[in-house]
């Protein structure tokens, strides 16, 4: 078939694909609602919600997870566009990682040796490792759908960043249940949960986001 033939057929098709932005934003708002509802129906919120933000060192988890989600969201917007995907800047994520490790190191230094084990392992590590990936399913699915409407030229990276954003949002929601106080706990277990979601999403993205 000649290329001119194809071009005539293409030109006759005036239907335009939909841009990803609207789906991304409304979808994520809905996802947050769904995550809050799921948490409320299963684990429930912690009894003293104010206690979640009372202790700055403990509340810092919201800052970490929130900045992770926001930075990733920004990256996702770039990754939907073919010409931007090759040159996204990932260093802001390293800043969040450094802050997480710093607050964890601070906690390690200030926790008395006899309390260290309890501070690190807590009582809910397993629940945390299950809940964060489960909660993240909805936002990650929304972000993947939005990315598919775009044209990313870095499918695995885009998938990974989708996981990071969804994992960050899920961690923020999960923190409304979690009563473990120490950064030793939350950096470790929230972190592992988010990393798991990120790796799985990168693998899925590498297949799902190709076009």
């Amino acid at each position: 078939m000649k290329t001119g033939t194809l071009i005539r057929a293409l030109a006759a098709d005036t239907a335009l694909g939909r841009r990803p932005e609207t789906l991304l934003l409304t979808g994520l708002l809905v996802s947050v609602g769904v995550m809050l509802l799921s948490l409320w129906l299963t684990l429930g919120f912690r009894a003293d919600l104010a206690g979640a933000i009372g202790d700055p060192l403990s509340a810092f988890r919201f800052v970490l997870a929130g900045s992770l989600a926001l930075i990733s969201l920004r990256l996702i917007r770039d990754l939907t566009r073919p010409e931007r995907a090759g040159r996204v800047r990932l260093w802001p994520l390293a800043v969040v990682l450094a802050a997480a490790l710093a607050v964890m190191a601070w906690a390690a230094l200030t926790t008395p040796p006899e309390a260290f084990r309890m501070a690190l392992f807590g009582k809910t590590a397993v629940i945390c490792l299950i809940a964060i990936p489960l909660l993240s399913l909805v936002p990650v699915a929304v972000i993947m759908a939005a990315l598919r409407r775009g044209a990313t030229t870095a499918p695995a990276l885009a998938g990974g960043v989708a996981g990071l954003c969804g994992g960050g949002l899920a961690a923020m929601v999960y923190a409304l249940y979690c009563t473990e106080k120490s950064p030793l706990f939350y950096v470790t277990w929230y972190g592992l949960g988010i990393i798991g979601v990120t790796l799985a999403s990168a693998l899925i993205g590498a297949r799902l986001l190709r076009w």
């Binding site: 078939m1 290329t3 033939t5 057929a9 293409l10 694909g17 841009r19 090759g86």
Partner: protein
């Protein structure tokens, strides 16, 4: 030469903007004017594929541009956008055919020069894939593409409404992109 090329680029932005707001003739002009440039990129890198093989890749790229043209924002430069899509699809096409290719990420200025060669260009894959689309879709694509029929004429001869032909055509082209991927991989 520089000025001429710069003007052609401005032209691309205008044509693509018009195309994305529904102007089929502007869109056809846009595709016709980018095709030699795409062909230049593909041929410069892929002599080993042969002429028909190269044209297959060019058609891959055109189909991708078509289905992703909404990701270009009015006012943004066309060139980096176009080159990014081209680079992605060319690398993909070569990988699917078991070959490696090295296209620079940044330096697209040197790449975007039209191939001065002639334009004979029969590709191998597309006709076979269209045949896999299913009777009605294949007929629509052929009528409009080969015979140059309008959407309205196609609708009349198939006893379909114009809207139905448009929807079927759009679906057919999307299916074609999926088939191409599955088929060459």
């Amino acid at each position: 030469m520089q000025v001429e090329r710069a003007m052609a680029m401005d032209d691309w932005a205008d044509l693509l903007a018009a195309a994305n707001s529904g102007d089929a003739r502007a869109y056809e002009r846009f595709l016709l004017s980018v095709t030699p440039v795409l062909r230049g990129i593909v041929r410069a890198r892929g002599h080993s594929l042969g002429e028909a093989g190269c044209e297959d890749v060019v058609q891959d790229v055109l189909l991708a541009i078509h289905l992703k043209r909404h990701t270009w924002t009015v006012g943004a430069p066309v060139r980096p956008w176009l080159y990014a899509i081209t680079r992605y699809k060319v690398i993909d096409a070569f990988r699917a055919r078991g070959r490696r290719i090295d296209l620079p990420l940044e330096d697209y200025s040197a790449e975007l020069v039209a191939d001065p060669g002639p334009d004979p260009t029969e590709a191998a894959d597309m006709a076979r894939l269209i045949a896999m689309l299913g009777e009605r879709s294949a007929t629509i694509v052929r009528k409009i593409g080969l015979e140059g029929a309008t959407v309205a004429e196609t609708g009349q001869s198939l006893r379909m409404s114009e809207g139905a032909v448009r929807v079927a055509l759009h679906r057919a082209l999307k299916a074609l992109a999926v088939l191409r991927k599955r088929h060459v991989e």
